[in-house]
Subunit: 644 residues, 2 copies
């Protein structure tokens, strides 16, 4: 069979229709009341009994005949004879006659002959101590009551035959109260749709297992993420073992999943063999309804039937898989599970910067939100491209490229950009669909250098977000007006009008193997000896400091800086994160790495100091009054005092 | 020890403080990633590895040296030699030299020597079939690429040392994606607070068990309801067996719960002995912080410590217990569980009628909501006391009295009325705090006669609410402007300007034991013979028809209607719901009951017809265009056609 091409992409509406045409419903099951919360009732429940089942005293006091109290008041109480008592959970042993009363506790059965009750506070008992045996306690009733007073009649709460809960009710704790009152301990609910998840790909390793990066192994992101999404939508996720790319095995797993589940979701390897197996199984045992959707990300989506199960093939890239799942699959699972689409999960924001599209596909753009805070109407900084005159949040796209797994963890929701839209302007109003109604956008958005002290500092804030883009890109983004703060390390080349909140210093240098077996003493060793070095990328403040040090060494030697750099093996091999070079040393792939003392200590490596650099935190001048910015300033002041 | 009185009620703020002073936190536990959704991280997680862990091809195509493609385009492709292939999950077996390329699949490791890749769509392979052995495939590259193009570098997604998730993060499916990518299969989270639930009271029976109403038994509502509330708030509910009112047993259960849980909630019997036991255990093993709160419902609330556990005593009445739980306890459980307070769960509405308070306590008023629909700005009916000029929902109190268990199932949220407020006017704007953000107020609010046909009819609507208050009270409420529709049965005494939507007829008469052992033939038998009868309340349309029939019999006999009524034993014993009289016959407590043929059939009883009456559905004239009202009209038309 030939591999299919995405020649005729379906529209998103056609994809929805195709999925809607599948039946994901899992049938009906009976669950005990203790498990009923959040489940969806499939049948009307009518009351089969009266609640309460008897006329019931509403207070502690005396049951009596209302007529006996007529005319009674504080000054002229009615005198009655107490002929017994009834407690809650007891059958009354007495029947009242005129002039008699029965002591009764809240919730107890009204005895025959009584038609009202008087609370104990409105009565007195006459002290009868020392009276003759057999004489009953006299009771003074200091108020008049009408028939029915302080009595809850049988069925007053719920009456037999009443419609209690209708079909389709999503059971709340309050409904559980009603069901309990009716004595119902088991309810018929919609079964959760069983959703089988099959991740394919030889390169996938389950989290917790050992990873071999040289073989190109990566952790399987989709299985657990999609499973959590399935459960969020009210389904029951069933994880199948990795099928790898071996055809027989993949086919067996797909058939098992189709036999056991209402819906099978595959994702993973995009290898031709995997797609071929899926096609073959679908063609033999089902029907392919759709291949390819005009949406980005998510184009390579399959919809069909596998034996008696519905089937959706998700793209392998985690962000694409999750976006397609959320957009097309989760609503169908919710529908089948009877879980309502969450409401009020949209927010209006303004684009923090211009974005261009123009690919003619519906774009599902993961975005982050940042609130501008109390002085957003500040000085109207002309450099900012965004209108500051309102306080709607700023919206910025979160996109690390299609292979990225983490974009969504740094996003708050999605903006749908129609295929006809070529660009969104900075400041343009957009509707953000939050990932869920309880998404709380971060209190603080920071960008810039990565630093272990900063990582700890951010723990003082509730829900901060930090994008470690490096010092220079951080300052650039701060100037563009989106983040609240930017963090820089080392010398800053350009002036900034940002407000400095504080900072600390950090020791940088060379990170080498424990015990420093190569006896590296400084930069000169890297230049003069045959050592493998690992650098940081040029966005990093650490790299800038290294370059300055190298320039100093070049001056001392009367040599050119570039010449020295070229004599360092690996100088141009720049890694992105502060720990990555040091980890290359651990892996035995380098002799020395650019890094921080703190990183060396953390990873139990040796450290050769080359200098100190200051780390500085700058705030967007419009956001200095924002609560989180002030909290960060306070935390910074404490850190400086500790000398961290 | 003396029983405490509620002399000095604490303010709601003091009650909150007292609960906040208790520690409900359940410590820390490690959970597998599959169970991490919704849990709250207790520690920062930094990345311990680069994601991806290697330089990775982003597409299917060819890895090569960018320099070899410089200047290439469609017309003038670069010719390279393909020297091997790398698939995802494989370690590259080749190292590239100038002029060479390696076939590479998406996600595979970039081989040494390659610094970019070209997607397969921009290349051609020259057909080499029949060429000499050993000759390698020539590749034509029809585009120029720069170093790094179509490659995701190691750490570009997440870099080792980066702050991945901060403490306090409530883990979403997207976070599970990030954790999966980092290979983390277990996370440290806050333990769910264990909340022990102790319901006391000899009269309580667990749902599902047999109930003895003669002994005043009722189903235990609080245990399951509070348990569901605890789980909603992120706690783990532990149900303890009913303690009854026996002191030793109750003490043992309380001590067990305190030893095993972070918080013990008691509710149930308000008997003096129960309170005494709780006091004794608290005084011996803990501390009483507060007794009695100035709030209605919920005054009799206790806050304290029981051994190492926090303790809150809830009122016994289900509505009070739940209101106190929601207002004071649930926020503390959420705080301890790290579950954020749900946002956007408030709605502004207008009071549907005046309400008076003035008890000097904070009033927690359960309310229902009704949306007025599209023609709310209709004819400005002068009889309606509510301003129709906006479309905010109408708010009406739901209150069946303090013993009621079901009020909350018929309510959508709570209005807090401050102690200084004596009354709320009809039309006054109020803030309704919904029970949860996903509460959907009913699409239709109906009131009036209860009827089995109506119960089924309502199944055609999504989420209707029906309050079976009887025919006459239903019409009265419709005139007051709150409900959408009212349902009447039998003759209507007063004119109404409401719009009739449709109706059906029902057969009414006497419901008697199977086989009609008393050979009852009609009303005359009730008047003339010594039979026990059960009537309906005077609000019921059925009762009105019965009275007319009795008037007819009186005319025939030349007797007075009241005289005949007095000769029927039980004529004044009116039950509220349509099934309740018939169930009295089943219980052997009556020989004949007023009821419907349908009820007799449903309960397998015999039916003696006395007449037919029409059931009519009337719509609020302002709501005839409301979608649910029109759906009901359609359903009614179908019912009439079926002749139901």
């Amino acid at each position: 069979m030939n591999r299919k091409e995405f020649r005729d992409l379906a529209s998103p509406a056609e994809a929805r229709e195709a999925i809607d045409s599948l039946s994901l419903e899992g049938g009906i099951e009976r669950v005990p009341l203790t498990d009923a919360r959040g489940r969806t009732l499939v049948a009307r429940l009518d009351a089969e009994l009266d609640v309460p089942g008897f006329d019931r005293a509403s207070l502690d006091g005396y049951a009596l005949t209302a007529r006996d109290t007529f005319g009674a008041d504080e000054a002229d109480p009615a005198a009655l004879e107490v002929v017994g008592s009834v407690h809650a959970g007891e059958e009354p042993a007495v029947e009242l006659e005129a002039g008699q009363a029965v002591e009764i506790s809240t919730g107890a059965v009204m005895p025959d002959g009584a038609d009202a009750m008087v609370p104990v506070e409105r009565t007195d008992t006459v002290d009868n101590t020392g009276s003759n045996d057999g004489e009953r306690t006299p009771l003074l009733v200091r108020t008049a009551v009408a028939p029915g007073d302080n009595v809850m009649f049988a069925g007053a709460d719920v009456a037999a035959g009443e419609r209690a809960l209708g079909p389709g009710t999503r059971i709340t704790p309050r409904d559980i109260g009603l069901l309990s009152a009716l004595g119902i301990d088991e309810v018929p609910v919609r079964s959760k749709p069983r959703v089988g998840i099959v991740s394919t790909g030889d390169e996938l390793v389950r989290p917790g297992d050992e990873l071999d990066s040289d073989r190109g192994e990566i952790y399987d992101v989709n299985s657990y993420t999609i499973a959590a999404g399935v459960e969020d939508a009210g389904g029951e996720a069933v994880l199948y073992p990795h099928a790898g790319d071996e055809q027989d095995e993949m086919e067996r797993v797909l058939r098992d999943a189709a036999a056991e589940c209402d819906l099978v979701l595959s994702s993973g390897s995009t290898s031709a063999s995997a797609v071929d197996v899926i096609y073959r199984v679908i063609e033999e045992q089902g029907e392919l309804l759709l291949h390819g959707v005009s949406v980005k990300p998510g184009k390579p989506m399959l919809v069909g039937r596998l034996a008696d199960s519905a089937y959706v093939g998700l793209p392998g890239y985690p962000v694409s898989a999750m976006m397609v799942f959320r957009t097309f699959v989760a609503p169908a699972i919710r529908e089948a599970a009877g879980v309502p689409e969450p409401e009020s999960a949209t927010v209006t924001g303004r684009m923090g910067r211009e974005e261009r599209y123009g690919e003619g596909r519906l774009r599902l753009m993961p975005v982050g939100l940042v609130q501008r805070g109390p002085n957003a109407e500040g000085d109207g900084d002309a450099a900012s491209s965004v209108d500051d005159s309102d306080n709607t949040p700023l919206v910025y796209p979160v996109d690390k490229g299609s292979g990225a797994t983490t974009s969504l963890a740094q996003a708050d929701g999605v903006v749908e950009v129609g295929p006809e839209t070529d660009y969104l302007e900075a400041g343009e109003s957009v509707r953000v669909r939050l990932f869920s109604p309880d998404v709380r956008p971060p209190t603080l958005l920071g960008v810039g250098e990565d630093d272990p002290t900063l990582n700890r500092l951010l723990d003082h804030l509730e829900n901060p977000r930090y994008l470690p883009v490096g010092s220079r890109p951080g300052l650039r983004r701060l100037r563009d007006g989106v983040p609240d703060v930017a963090v820089t390390a080392g010398p800053i080349e350009r002036d900034t009008d940002a407000t400095e909140l504080g900072g600390w210093t950090r020791e940088w240098g060379l990170v080498v193997r424990p015990g420093n077996p190569d006896e590296i003493e400084g930069l000169s060793d890297l230049v003069d000896r045959d050592l493998q070095f690992v650098n940081r990328t040029s966005d990093s403040g650490l790299r800038v400091s290294l370059e300055r040090a190298l320039a100093g060494l070049a001056d001392d030697r009367g040599a050119g800086q570039r010449e020295l750099a070229e004599s360092i093996t690996g100088y141009d091999l720049g890694l992105r994160a502060h720990e990555s070079p040091a980890r290359t040393v651990i892996a035995g792939e380098a002799d020395a790495a650019l890094g921080l003392r703190e990183t060396a200590d953390h990873l139990s490596l040796e450290f050769i100091p080359l200098g100190e650099q200051s780390v500085r935190v700058f705030a967007n001048p419009d956001r200095t009054a924002k609560a989180s910015v002030r909290e960060l300033e306070t935390a910074l002041a404490e850190t400086s005092n500790e000398g961290a």
